[in-house]
């Protein structure tokens, strides 16, 4: 009797242990599905509204499809891409997109850095100055472009030309004489606050002790800035440049309002709009949409890397 009980005891224990192990696994599995369940609605929503439409755009781009001839719709292979290259629309458009993005982002970073440095030092009314400075980024872009077009650039009533006239300089018809500059000025104006905010955060995160030590060691303001502050800001400049680039690569509003794509400012987004909604050529327009994505991927790949680096360093649990 006693022997049987003693031998049965360990096996019972094992049974219990085995059942808790499967329980644990079951708990883990339900846990895993519960976590996925939290994520799924957002993922499904995005797949439905962005991924599937994008795949459909690729499909469209391989189709001969003009809404003027709805019955003449057929698979076209890469015809839309080859005609994009041969029609001479694509390269100028890529050029316009890249140039507008490069100029606007560079200028916005430079001005943003200037304002960040100026608004980082304490002075009377700093909070108000910062509040005023962020406003251009908040203004509805369509409103900003319209206001610039008529109250700043206009040959008769524009303030810029009033200043020119006052200085006895010739009046400039901005959007026709300098279309690229016109677009870049408005974009720079809108994105300078964006860069300023990012760089200001960088300046505020700087170790004040190191700056003081540099001052004590006799490094001048300029040397302290170039040797200590700028390297510290590098990461922030990178984030600003890359996020700004990805947004401005898609730029549409100032083109549509200021230049209508004339004078080398026809960005890919505007070209697509023209082909699809004026030319009604869905297949061709879709091909431009796909090219926009390729261009964005090139920039975003670089963007992802550095944003990730920062994010993962600061926030993994």
């Amino acid at each position: 009797m006693t022997t049987t009980t003693t031998t049965s005891q360990p096996s019972e224990l094992e049974d219990v242990r085995a059942s808790t192990a499967t329980d644990k696994r079951r708990v883990q599995r339900t846990e895993l599905w519960r976590n996925r369940g939290l994520l799924l609605p957002a993922v499904i929503f995005l797949i439905l509204l962005t991924q599937i439409p994008f795949l459909t755009t690729i499909g469209f781009s391989l189709t001969k499809w003009n809404l003027l001839y709805p019955n003449d719709r057929a698979f076209a292979g890469f015809d839309n891409y080859t005609s994009a290259l041969t029609s001479g629309d694509l390269w100028p458009s890529i050029r316009a997109t890249v140039l507008i993005t490069a100029f606007s982002v560079t200028l916005a970073v430079l001005f943003g850095l200037l304002f960040a440095v100026l608004l980082d030092r304490p002075f009377r009314g700093r909070a108000l100055a910062r509040t005023l400075m962020i406003t251009p980024f908040l203004i509805m872009p369509a409103a900003a472009s319209l206001i610039w077009k008529y109250s700043m650039f206009d040959t008769n009533i524009g303030m810029l030309n009033w200043v020119f006239r006052s200085l006895h300089l010739p009046v400039v018809a901005w959007s026709t004489e300098h279309p690229m500059a016109t677009v870049v000025i408005v974009l720079t104006w809108q994105f300078t606050p964006f860069m300023m905010l990012i760089l200001l955060a960088g300046l505020q995160g700087q170790d004040k002790g190191i700056l003081e030590a540099a001052q004590v060691d006799g490094a001048g303001t300029w040397r302290t800035f170039t040797w200590i502050t700028l390297p510290h800001l590098r990461m922030y400049i990178e984030i600003g440049v890359l996020l700004g680039s990805v947004i401005i690569l898609q730029v549409f509003d100032p083109i549509a309002i200021l230049t209508k794509g004339t004078g080398g400012t026809k960005t890919l987004a505007y070209l697509l709009y023209e082909r699809a909604f004026i030319g009604l050529d869905v297949g061709q327009a879709a091909a431009y949409g796909v090219v926009t994505v390729v261009l964005t991927i090139i920039v975003a790949t670089i963007a992802l890397k550095s944003v990730f680096k920062v994010f993962m360093a600061g926030g993994s649990r």
Partner: protein
């Protein structure tokens, strides 16, 4: 020694005053177009559209009245509907997702995060044609709710990333304590986590509202009349024959004001939203 110290100090303060002056001049020049827009909105049309600018005048609300007479209220209403619904959608979907990506720790957090961010970087130009065709086929073109849903998707990635950065700041001990007390997941989110991250949720909602309110490209292409929002409507104040700067400025001021106020209120959180939570 003492004397030279005070002269360097006074030289320093003179330099400081000069820098402050330069700062203010630059800030005011930069801000000028906004100031000018507001000022022109309160001018009679003849003054606003005159060749020589006027700074001192008797303010009138002519421009604002004219903007409203042209039916601006309806477009503002559409903008509000689209922005509010888009914000509700993106916040409602982002809270559980951000929770799963921060506190719950699903497998492959990095993959999920890349998925969201790559969607954020997807150009609208790449998705607008199929959306247009589908909406047209099922008769939902020029429908404000469809525009709102698309905006919800447009804002969702930013909202998720931004909220995650706030969720990560919730002290783990608090959550553990709640779990020990036997709080279920739903209660854990609603009772423990949400109250702690409420400022973050509010900031994400504000960012989402700003992007939706200001959006132009999709609004221009997916709406035409009944559902048209404010940004594409603003262009209609441009009159090829007559003067229009006062009414255009008034309309632009009305259109820009909600977001300017929201942005000023959320100034501290703005940079976090713009950098998708990467910078605090």
């Amino acid at each position: 020694m003492n004397g030279s110290g005070s002269t360097t100090r006074s030289r320093q303060s003179a330099r400081g005053a000069l820098t402050t002056l330069v700062t203010w001049v630059l800030v005011l020049v930069f801000f000028f177009p906004v100031f000018w827009m507001v000022l022109n909105g309160f001018k009679p049309e003849s003054l606003a559209s005159s060749v020589n600018p006027t700074f001192i005048f008797k303010p009138v609300t002519e421009g604002y009245q004219l903007a409203m007479d042209r039916g601006m209220a309806g477009y503002l209403q559409n903008s509000l509907t689209a922005a509010v619904i888009a914000t509700i959608i993106s916040v409602a979907l982002a809270i559980p997702a951000a929770y799963a990506l921060s506190i719950r720790r699903v497998k492959n957090v990095e993959n999920s995060l890349s998925f969201f961010i790559s969607t954020r970087f997807m150009p609208l130009a790449a998705i607008v044609l199929p959306l247009f065709m589908i909406f047209k086929t099922v008769g939902l073109l020029d429908n404000i709710y469809m525009l709102a849903i698309v905006y919800g998707a447009m804002n969702l990635p930013v909202t998720v990333w931004m909220m995650r950065s706030f969720f990560l700041e919730v002290p783990y001990e608090i959550i553990e304590a709640a779990r020990v007390d036997g709080a279920g997941m739903f209660r854990e989110i609603v009772r423990i986590v949400l109250p702690l991250v409420l400022p973050g949720v509010a900031a994400a909602a504000l960012i989402s509202f700003i992007f939706a309110w200001n959006e132009y490209f999709l609004a221009l292409l997916l709406t035409s009349s009944a559902a048209r929002t404010t940004p594409p409507f603003l262009g209609s104040f441009v009159d090829g024959r007559g003067q229009f700067l006062a009414v255009l400025s008034a309309a632009a001021t009305i259109a820009a004001l909600p977001v300017i106020i929201a942005g000023w209120a959320a100034q501290k959180q703005l940079v976090r939203g713009l950098s998708m939570g990467a910078i605090k």
